[in-house]
């Protein structure tokens, strides 16, 4: 079991104008493991996730303080290019957001700009493999050149997962990736996540306690902008330390 730390957050605060969304959070995310963020709506899970690849930079009123280190390097340092960072730290969003382009181009875009394919055949291979792993290949293989926006919500989400893994990021951030998926696609995505952790670090936000318990090794429980409890998933779901965690995961009024 590797206990190597991939991402280390130290004293992180996030503000949206006057809203204090994340309050002095310290969190160490293990390398090559799946970490789940759980907690009630509005507790700051997405906000914290977006700090890890500087997605919050794109929100004007958002201010992030504290340190986030990726393999010991401060990702908010002046020298860090957010675009390069996001190639290393990929993201799948809460709402599917395919580019207004063909299914093929959605996936091929990243590998192309990062020069991951030497020729068309290699690019085709990357696109097919990515879509297969995202459990959508069979549904789109005959319509690769139709627009990605023409897919159903669940299909769009799997396309976005395919797009995110096409660049082989070291870290994959997933914000409720299965909220629009049927049980079969959900199982396929969970299988993919389990597969990804051989090589990647995955952080997933989910509202499904069972999903968190199934896919993750570590779980962080967020509550009102704080990380109330963080530890082994097995422990959190069988015997949590904090009564707020217990109330939340057992479906009680907290």
């Amino acid at each position: 079991m590797s206990k190597e730390i991939k991402i280390s957050a130290q004293g992180v605060d996030v503000f949206y104008g006057d809203t204090h969304a994340i309050k002095n959070v310290d969190l160490e995310i293990e390398n090559k493991a799946v970490t789940a963020f759980i907690g009630p709506s509005g507790c700051g899970k997405s906000t914290f996730l977006r700090c890890i690849n500087r997605m919050n930079d794109t929100i004007d009123i958002c201010r992030v303080t504290g340190d986030i280190l990726l393999e010991g390097q401060d990702i908010y340092a002046k020298s860090v290019d957010p675009v390069q960072l996001r190639a290393r730290v990929g993201m799948v969003f809460q709402k599917p957001n395919p580019f207004p382009k063909s299914i093929y181009d959605n996936v091929a875009y990243g590998p192309t700009i990062h020069g991951l394919a030497k020729n068309k055949a290699e690019l085709d291979e990357i696109v097919e493999q990515s879509l297969r792993r995202a459990a959508i290949w069979d549904e789109v293989k005959d319509r690769l050149h139709q627009p990605g926006t023409g897919l159903s919500g669940g299909q769009q989400q799997r396309l976005c997962i395919g797009r995110a893994i096409a660049t082989a990021p070291e870290v994959l951030l997933m914000d409720e990736p299965c909220s629009a998926l049927d049980p079969i696609a959900t199982a396929q995505v969970e299988e993919l996540i389990d597969d990804l952790r051989q090589n990647y670090t995955v952080v997933i936000v989910t509202h499904s306690m069972q999903q968190a318990a199934r896919v993750s090794q570590k779980t962080a429980f967020f509550h009102l902008g704080n990380v109330v409890e963080y530890g082994d998933t097995n422990k959190i779901f069988t015997n949590p330390e904090d009564s707020r965690t217990e109330s939340y995961i057992t479906g009680r009024i907290g």
Binding site: M209, Q210, A213, F237, T245, E246, S247, I249, T250, R252
Partner: protein, 239 residues
């Protein structure tokens, strides 16, 4: 925290329902034990038969608990304290079912023993031992419902008294058998009865462990020393 209600109130009703089944089982087992002990002492074969028949009710309740628990797991996917409640219910219903079987076995042996001359002097000790176990069972179930770890620990400690009583009876039966070989059949039956009551105590201890597990999430430390030494007792070797 467990006093808090679930947002899904049907979940609370499910858990209460399954706990009510456990309590019902516990009540039947307590009755079975005291009736079996009384039947033995009074040589009341009618009552002994009743204990044997009633064991079916306990078995049926155990099955009902198992199917309820399966349904709750499938529908609610319980976690944390809820998960431990459901697991402990399953375990305890198993303990109670075994205790019921021992009571039934006591009833069977009573029927056989009532055909034989009585063995003097051991009836009182057997009755006290059985009563002790029955009070322990009642307290263990109270501890379970009230989530009272201290009471559970206290009951766990009391099991060594049961073990000691068994040891004493074991020697006594041995003496009777050595005195007069015609006592052997009856003493063998009585010995099995004593051994089964001692095992009932072990099941009560196991219920107490479930109380500790339910409340703390951990099994208790194995600090309780086993007082039944008959398996290594040299008294047998000296015969």
């Amino acid at each position: 925290m467990m006093d808090q209600e679930h947002i899904a109130s049907a979940f609370d009703r499910d858990l209460e329902g399954v706990l009510a089944l456990i309590m019902q089982m516990g009540g039947l087992v307590e009755t079975a034990i005291s009736d079996a002990a009384r039947a033995l002492e009074m040589r009341d074969t009618e009552l002994a038969d009743q204990v044997r028949r009633n064991d079916k009710l306990i078995d049926a309740l155990e099955e009902q608990v198992a199917s309820e628990v399966a349904r709750v797991i499938a529908v609610r996917a319980p976690t944390a304290g809820d998960l431990r409640t459901v697991l402990s219910v399953l375990k305890i219903s198993g303990n109670l079912e075994r205790m019921g079987d021992y009571a039934k076995n006591l009833g069977k042996r009573t029927s056989v023993l009532s055909e034989m001359p009585a063995i003097t002097g051991t009836g009182g000790a057997l009755r006290r031992m059985t009563q002790l176990v029955n009070v322990m069972l009642k307290d263990a179930l109270d501890a379970y419902i009230q989530r009272d770890v201290d009471l559970a620990e206290d009951v766990r400690q009391r099991d060594s008294e049961v073990d000691q009583m068994y040891n004493a009876l074991f020697r006594e039966f041995l003496t009777h058998m050595m005195e007069d070989p015609r006592n052997i059949t009856a003493c063998m039956h009585l010995h099995f009865i004593a051994k089964n009551v001692e095992r009932m105590g072990d099941h009560v201890t196991s219920i107490c462990e479930q109380v500790v597990y339910l409340v703390t999430g951990d099994m208790p430390d194995e600090d309780r020393e086993k007082q039944d030494r008959t398996s290594t007792d040299s008294a047998l070797g000296k015969v």
